[in-house]
Every structure is written in structure tokens, then in C-alpha cells.
């Protein structure tokens, strides 16, 4: 009986142990789910932009345009006052404070939006058209339902007066949601509604391109040398240990290397994708060498012997037969290494890629941000509008990473030969 009881307990322990395993896995899956849910639930609203419909009369007198064909005059006309005056007309106000509150519902870029429209539609002079203006961040967030309305006025970003205007506009059908193209086409901005990660995407692109151009050829050559040519001696042992350890060095140390050597000794330009790319390529190097060596090692010696037996030289054997066969694994390792580099932030902070850059970078020599750095920069900002933009940037970044990793898996599964 004692034994019976004991056996029962042992089976309970068995069950418990399995349950621990299931709990552990569920917890891990829960974290994945939470992360994805959090990012998506906060980020999707960033892809739309709230616009306010305003009838605008391009009054020649107000604009100060005497000759519509005079480019200088059209360029320098006073769109600011034009839109300002016609916008505040949309709602009754009794004092300066209220007037200010009305105009604050528009994004500060309204004059450029009016100007851009007019530059392309000059025949609208002295006519009235209904234009869509980007709403201010607070208004945008209110419309997207991200701001609670039922809290005391002093804790709200928008006053009761402004809420009334919103309700009125809503009733009149003056509010419209459009796809937020600014998000993709613009650089950074102090105003969330005008900020975009276009500059960051370009910056990331340049950085990764430079990283690829430097690290892939060097890593492949190093792997080929170590696997195929290197004599077994102290030096190659040292290189080998060195590569394994380098792969585990914290990324921030590479940032210190970039700062100390690339910026201070070689005086390369700060905050640029060039320096970012070089720094990341040093970090990526061992991460490509290791899988490249593994795939070279996986090519069976019979292939080498076969080539050598028909009189090919060692170099010919390696480059005609071994390297092509090892290519799928190497490429997949390279893509994964680059994906890691794409998500890397810390080293870029140290080499100054955290500058506030409004213009889109035109070349790797221009100051720029990168996607993860943009996440860091925006997450430090207090405005609610930046929270959704941060999440949207993360969605973009994760999207790139998923594409790259799937490519790596594809490269491996599609092209890799299985040796028996």
C-alpha cells in the first residue's frame, strides 16, 4: 500500500513537472503576444492623419499678389495670415485667448500646405476652394480617441472650448481621416503630426548597405581562409578564439570603438550613415564568419578531392566548387547578421546618430537617424502623438526584420544541399 501511495505521488510529480514546462512556454508565448499586441494596438493609428476641411479664398489682395505670373510674388505671398484669418472665422470667439485656441487646432504647417496647393493651382486666385489641413497633434489624438474627455479640464491637453469646436466640426462634417503619407515621406519634427520616419528609413538603408559592402566580402574571405587555407598554428588559433569572443562583445563596446577610432582618430563625419555602417560592419563581421565557416565545413571533402583529382588548383577547387556550395548557408548567415545590425541602437548613439534631423539624408555622408534610433528618440518625447509614431516605427522595423529573416530561411531551405 505504501508503495501504491508512493507511486501515486510519483505520477503527481510527473504531472507537475510537465505543467511547469507548459507554464514556462505559455509565459514566453504570452510575452511575445503582449509585445506584438502592445505595438500594434498603439501603432496602427499612426498610419492615419486627421484633416480639417477649411474653405479658403485665395484673395489676391490679402496675399499681396499683383501679377500671378511673377514667381517671386507667388512664392513670397502671405499665406500665413490668409489661412489664419479664414480659419479662425470658423468658430465664434470672444477674446485673444480663444482665438489662439482655435488656431492651435491646426498644425503649424498650414501656411505651407496652402502655399503648395496654390503653387500648383494658380488659376484658383480669388476663388474659394475647400482645402484639407493637417490637424494639430492634440486634435488628431482626440479624434483617434486616444485622449479621454471625461477628466478635469486642467489635466486635459484640450480646453472645454476646444472640445466644443471639435464637436461642432464633427457635426458639420469638417473632419476627415486620410492615409498618413507624412509618416513615410518626412524626417523628424518637433510636431508629432508632421514627423515621419522617412529619414530614418533612408538612414537605416544607407547604414545597412555600407555594413553589407564591408562585412560580407571580408567575412567570406576570412571564413574561406580559416576553413580552407589556414595552416594549423598559433596565429590561426588566436584568430579563431578572437572571432568567437568578438561575436559576444557587447554592442556598445563597438560604439566606443567607432567613437574612439573612426571619429576621433580618422575624423570621419559624425552622425552619418557612413560611420554607422563601418561600426556595425565590425560588429557583424564575426556574426557572418561563424555561419560561413559552418557551411564551408559542411561541404563534404569528397567534393574537394573530386576537383583536385581532375587537376584543379587549391584556389580553383575552393572558388569553383566549395564556395558556391556553401553560399546558401553563408547568405542566410549574412542576412541574419544584417538583420541584427539593422536593429542595433547603442553603437549608433555613441557615434552621434541621435541628432535631430529634419531633412532626408541624400547620401551616407549626410547626418541621419536610423529606424531604431528614431524609436529611441521618439520614445523620449512626452507628446501622445509620438507614442503612436514610436509604435508605428517599431512596426516598420519589425516588418523589415521579418522580411529579412524569412529571406534567410528561404535561402537556406531552397538552395541548401543536404549531404548524406
Amino acid at each position: 500500500m505504501n508503495k501504491e501511495l508512493r507511486r501515486k505521488k510519483r505520477y503527481q510529480a510527473e504531472k507537475r513537472f510537465q505543467v511547469y514546462g507548459i507554464i514556462a512556454i505559455s509565459l514566453a508565448l504570452f510575452f511575445v503576444g503582449l509585445l506584438v499586441f502592445k505595438v500594434f494596438s498603439e501603432g496602427t493609428s499612426a498610419f492615419s492623419r486627421t484633416m480639417i476641411k477649411v474653405p479658403i479664398t485665395f484673395n489676391a489682395e490679402k496675399l499681396g499678389i499683383t501679377n500671378i505670373n511673377d514667381n517671386d510674388e507667388v512664392e513670397n505671398a502671405d499665406y500665413y495670415t490668409l489661412v489664419y484669418e479664414q480659419f479662425v472665422k470658423n468658430y465664434p470667439y470672444s477674446n485673444d485667448e480663444e482665438e489662439k485656441q482655435i488656431i492651435k487646432l491646426l498644425s503649424p504647417d498650414y501656411e505651407f500646405e496652402a502655399k503648395n496647393y496654390f503653387l500648383q493651382n494658380r488659376n484658383q486666385l480669388n476663388k474659394t476652394v475647400t482645402l484639407l489641413f493637417t490637424a494639430s497633434d492634440d486634435f488628431d489624438q482626440l479624434h483617434k480617441g486616444n485622449f479621454p474627455r471625461d477628466i478635469p479640464e486642467e489635466r486635459r491637453r484640450l480646453s472645454n472650448y476646444q472640445l466644443n469646436i471639435y464637436d461642432q466640426f464633427l457635426k458639420e462634417g469638417k473632419i476627415e481621416k486620410i492615409f498618413n503619407n507624412y509618416l513615410f515621406s518626412k524626417g523628424d519634427s518637433r510636431d508629432p503630426e508632421l514627423a515621419g520616419f522617412g529619414g530614418a528609413i533612408l538612414g537605416s538603408l544607407f547604414t545597412i548597405l555600407i555594413c553589407l559592402l564591408i562585412s560580407f566580402p571580408i567575412a567570406l574571405s576570412a571564413a574561406v581562409y580559416l576553413e580552407e587555407f589556414a595552416p594549423k598554428n598559433k596565429l590561426t588559433d588566436l584568430i579563431e578564439i578572437n572571432i568567437n569572443n568578438l561575436a559576444a562583445v557587447p554592442s556598445i563596446v563597438f560604439g566606443l570603438l567607432g567613437l574612439g577610432v573612426l571619429l576621433n582618430v580618422f575624423e570621419l563625419p559624425r552622425s552619418t550613415a557612413l560611420v554607422g555602417g563601418i561600426t556595425l560592419s565590425l560588429m557583424t563581421l564575426p556574426r557572418i564568419i561563424i555561419p560561413a565557416r559552418a557551411s564551408l565545413k559542411a561541404v563534404p571533402p569528397s567534393i574537394r578531392e573530386g576537383a583536385l583529382a581532375v587537376g584543379a588548383s587549391k584556389v580553383q577547387t575552393v572558388f569553383h566548387h566549395v564556395v558556391p556550395l556553401a553560399m546558401p548557408g553563408t547568405l542566410s548567415g549574412t542576412i541574419i547578421g544584417l538583420a541584427q545590425a539593422l536593429g542595433e541602437t547603442a553603437p549608433l548613439l555613441l557615434i552621434g546618430m541621435v541628432a535631430f534631423v529634419v531633412e532626408l539624408p541624400g547620401s551616407p555622408m549626410d547626418p541621419s537617424a536610423s529606424l531604431p534610433v528614431q524609436v529611441y528618440l521618439w520614445s523620449e518625447s512626452a507628446e501622445r502623438g509620438f507614442v503612436e509614431k514610436t509604435s508605428a516605427t517599431i512596426m516598420m522595423l519589425l516588418g523589415f526584420l521579418i522580411v529579412m529573416n524569412s529571406l534567410a530561411v528561404y535561402a537556406r531551405q531552397k538552395f541548401e544541399k543536404k549531404w548524406n
Binding site: 505504501n2 508503495k3 508512493r6 507511486r7 510519483r10 505520477y11
Partner: protein
């Protein structure tokens, strides 16, 4: 003939089929194994003799793709009934493997492992006793009594295998299955194990799978010959080796194939 009457069937296999995925490995095996005897299973490699052995303590359960139909009765109890407790079964049916597989623990802990999980020993003294008797029964005690707390993996191959036998008998099973226990050992170590098997049969029922016909002839009372997943012939060892009924058995015994 007097002997025949005393014999008592310990294990009875009824129509056992085994499948690995969609490949059938055993075809309708029917046989009986008698108590306190050594039964040898022989046959060319891949004939299914090891597979059958692993059916007796349901070690095949460990392999996911393995499916078994039919019945095996131990003491008239079908071990393939759905609610059978494999842990209890294996407590009763011990096993020794082809390659010695001591745990990476001390010699003492290797033996004590089984009794401790089953709660056989009440205290440390009793455990010491079990370890000592098991090692003595396995004829290893004199060689290792001074270094019980050294790792079991440090022993020689033959000693490791005897350690594994000691581990198997530590929980006092009724049946011991041996899967080619000497195939990884040198002739001297093999001789020792064979001697040991002979002495163990008084307390245990032993089933041994071997590829060596001479070993089967030396240690067993009964022998079964397997070929391509079928039991070709089963009978008294002497008869199988001297005067088999089946020509295939004859050919194998005389070395014409295998």
C-alpha cells in the same frame, strides 16, 4: 522429462506485431519464456530480436513512431492493456543494454538510483546493504568496494556492463532483459559476464539477445531464432543447435548466411 513438468511460463507472447511508422518490424510473434531459465534470441542483424526484447518491458514506448499490437502476458497478466503502469512493469522487468550506459554519477549512486526512486530502502543502512548485495550479485563488489564514490564512467567496459547489471538487479526485478550485453566487450570481460548470467538464473528469469551463436549455446537453456521479423523456430538450445526442425535455422547455425 521430469524437468519439463516443473517448468512454468513466465512470459507469453501472443501474436505481437510491431510497426515503425508504416514499416512492419515484427510479424505475429508467439512464444513462451520459462521461469528461472536463460532464453536466448538469435538471428541476423535487423531480424527484430532486439525489437521483441524491448516489447517485454515496453521500452518501445519511448519511440514515438512505434506501434505495437498483440499481447504479452507476464504471470498471466497482459502488459499491453491500456491502463498498465509502465513504471511498475519496468520495476519488475529490468534491462541491460548493448553499450554499457552508466549514469554520469558515482558507482554508489548508479546502484542507489533505482531503489531511491521506488522507495525500496528505508534508510541509509538499508541502501548501503542493497548496493553491496547488488554489486556482489553482479560480481563487482570486490573490484569496486574501495571506490564506491568514484564516477561509474571511470570503470573499464566490462566493469561498466557489470555495473549496469548490478543497477538492473538493485530493484530486485523478476525478469532481466539483456540486449547483446557483450557486443562491446573483449573476450575476457565477456567470459565474466557469461559466468554471471549463469549464476543469476537461480534468482531471475533472463532473456538475452545475442548475435553470437556460441554465446547462446553456452548460456541458454532455450533458444529462439528470428529472421526478417518472424520467429522461425524456438526450442531447447541443444536441439536448436544440433538438430533444428527448420532448414533456415540449420543454414544460419552452420553459418551459410547471417
Amino acid at each position: 522429462m521430469e524437468l519439463e513438468n516443473k517448468r512454468e511460463a513466465k512470459v507469453i507472447s501472443k501474436n505481437i506485431d510491431v510497426f515503425y511508422g508504416d514499416k512492419q518490424a515484427l510479424f505475429g510473434i508467439d512464444l513462451e519464456i520459462y521461469k528461472n531459465e536463460v532464453t536466448a534470441l538469435i538471428g541476423p542483424s535487423g531480424c527484430g530480436k532486439s525489437t521483441f526484447l524491448r516489447c517485454i518491458n515496453r521500452m518501445n514506448d519511448v519511440i514515438d513512431i512505434c506501434k505495437i499490437t498483440g499481447e504479452i502476458e507476464i504471470d498471466n497478466f497482459n502488459i499491453y492493456k491500456p491502463d498498465v503502469d509502465v513504471v511498475r512493469l519496468r520495476e519488475k522487468v529490468g534491462m541491460v543494454f548493448q553499450k554499457p550506459n552508466p549514469f554520469p554519477k558515482s558507482i554508489y549512486d548508479n546502484i542507489a538510483y533505482g531503489p531511491s526512486i521506488h522507495g525500496i530502502a528505508k534508510d541509509k543502512n538499508e541502501m548501503d546493504q542493497i548496493v553491496e548485495t547488488s554489486l556482489q550479485k553482479a560480481a563487482l563488489w570486490n573490484e569496486v568496494k574501495d571506490r564506491l564514490h568514484e564516477p561509474g564512467t571511470g570503470l573499464s567496459g566490462g566493469q561498466q556492463q557489470r555495473l549496469c547489471i548490478a543497477r538492473a538487479i538493485s530493484i530486485n526485478p523478476e525478469i532481466i532483459l539483456m540486449d547483446e550485453p557483450c557486443s562491446a566487450l573483449d573476450p575476457i570481460a565477456t567470459a565474466k559476464i557469461e559466468e554471471l548470467i549463469d549464476s543469476l538464473k537461480t534468482s531471475f528469469t533472463i532473456v538475452i539477445v545475442t548475435h553470437s551463436m556460441s554465446q547462446a549455446a553456452r548460456v541458454s537453456q532455450r533458444t529462439g531464432f528470428f529472421h526478417l521479423g518472424k520467429l522461425i523456430e524456438m526450442g531447447e538450445t541443444e536441439k536448436i543447435f544440433k538438430n533444428p526442425n527448420n532448414t533456415m535455422t540449420q543454414d544460419y547455425i552452420t553459418g551459410r548466411f547471417g
